[in-house]
């Protein structure tokens, strides 16, 4: 059965009645607020300001830049959800709030299509593109690509293909990888902005996951490592969703 609001709400009620949430009244309200918003308007964005006002009683002139209550609580809520699912593995749906966002995703588990075995997952990673004309920026992208490939390859569930997309398609051996990971990088001074897309190649070719990452480059290697680790974490979570089933409500 595909996910629907009733299944998500039933799961939410169950989670909120657990010991981990029972005494955490504000965190429970935070979770219910973002789940309700996502169910009512799936394409909506949820702002830090809105949560501050609706859940934490902040006034309409409150400035999230100087009052980090929502960011503090979002980090705690993500950790609480992780802990909850360690204690109580979900049976039908799992709620995640990806880092950097307040919109939850609902991941169907258990009753989806037959799970792929981990080694079935293959991902094609062409070199990340620099959108500037400075050759050093492409060097940064190449180094970052290497770092991401290195981290992904440590996950035994994944087969990472590093040749260029064009070379892969020309090869035409009939074995299409499951996913294509593409990223482009823009740079303004020390600030970089990376836009990442994970495209599902075996289905409709739709974007399966995307995110924007920002960083201030003070140490090139450290920045590459940190970005690569963030990307690895996000992809690991996204691909784990695939392994356990698919959602029609993300």
């Amino acid at each position: 059965m595909p996910l629907n609001s009733a299944i998500v709400n039933q799961h939410l009620d169950q989670a909120l009645s657990s010991p981990l949430f029972r005494n955490a009244e504000r965190q429970s309200r935070f979770l219910r607020f973002v789940v309700d918003a996502a169910l009512q308007t799936p394409e909506a964005t949820i702002k830090e300001f809105d949560i501050g006002v609706a859940v934490y009683g902040r006034r309409s002139d409150y400035d999230p830049r100087t009052d980090p209550i929502v960011r503090v609580e979002a980090a705690r809520l993500r950790a609480r959800l992780r802990e909850y699912y360690e204690v109580t593995p979900p049976e039908r749906v799992r709620i995640d709030i990806p880092k950097g966002h307040y919109v939850p995703v609902f991941i169907q588990v258990g009753s989806g299509p037959p799970a792929q075995t981990p080694s079935d997952l293959s991902i094609l990673v062409p070199p990340f593109r620099s959108l500037s004309t400075d050759p050093s920026d492409q060097n940064f992208c190449d180094g970052l690509t290497e770092e991401v490939v290195h981290k992904l390859a440590q996950d035994h569930r994944l087969r990472v293909i590093t040749q260029s997309a064009a070379a892969w398609l020309e090869q035409g051996d009939g074995t299409r990888p499951h996913y294509l990971l593409e990223a482009s990088v823009r740079r303004a001074g020390a600030e970089i902005r990376l836009t990442l897309h994970l495209t599902e190649l075996t289905g409709m070719g739709s974007t399966y996951f995307s995110n924007i990452y920002q960083a201030t480059v003070t140490d090139i290697f450290a920045t590459q490592e940190k970005l690569a680790e963030e990307i690895r974490g996000d992809l690991s979570a996204a691909l784990h969703m695939s392994k356990t089933g698919s959602s029609d409500m993300q």
Partner: protein
């Protein structure tokens, strides 16, 4: 018992250490600023502390130093935070009161360091505080760790 992983990578640890190193050494000002902000955000917790906040501010500064010194020892952090949480329960601390503490902590860095407190440093402290505060909550629920 399920353990919560600290999961702090080397970059996060570096940001935590760099931010602490930027605080003026031996200056009790930031810790006093932390408590001033905490009591502003959660006036109900003021009665949990003695009227003279100086000694408590010193304890808070020492605790930050202890956290930094033990970032590579999550078992030690976990054990001590659970013990702290168990003591907090005895003082009547509620789960929701960990939120203003975290908020005051970030605010202390913002106020003291200004632009030198980078978004990466804030992210590192959010992650660290989530781990530490949830361990304290667990101590409050389950009691101190058995030695």
């Amino acid at each position: 018992m399920v353990r919560q992983s600290a999961d702090m990578d080397s970059i996060t640890i570096r940001h935590l250490r760099e931010s602490i190193a930027l605080l003026p050494a031996g200056d009790p000002g930031p810790a006093h600023e932390f408590y001033r902000r905490l009591f502003e955000l959660a006036p109900e917790v003021r009665s949990l502390f003695k009227p003279e906040i100086g000694p408590q501010a010193k304890k808070f500064s020492d605790m930050l130093g202890w956290v930094i010194a033990n970032l590579e020892h999550p078992d030690e952090l976990q054990s001590q935070m659970r013990a702290l949480g168990a003591r907090h329960k005895g003082y009547g601390v509620q789960t929701d009161q960990y939120a203003p503490v975290g908020s005051a902590l970030i605010w202390m860095f913002q106020r003291t360091l200004g632009d030198r407190f980078t978004p990466e440093m804030e992210e590192a402290w959010l992650e660290a505080y989530a781990f530490l505060s949830l361990e304290a909550e667990r101590g409050s629920r389950e009691g101190p760790p058995q030695s």
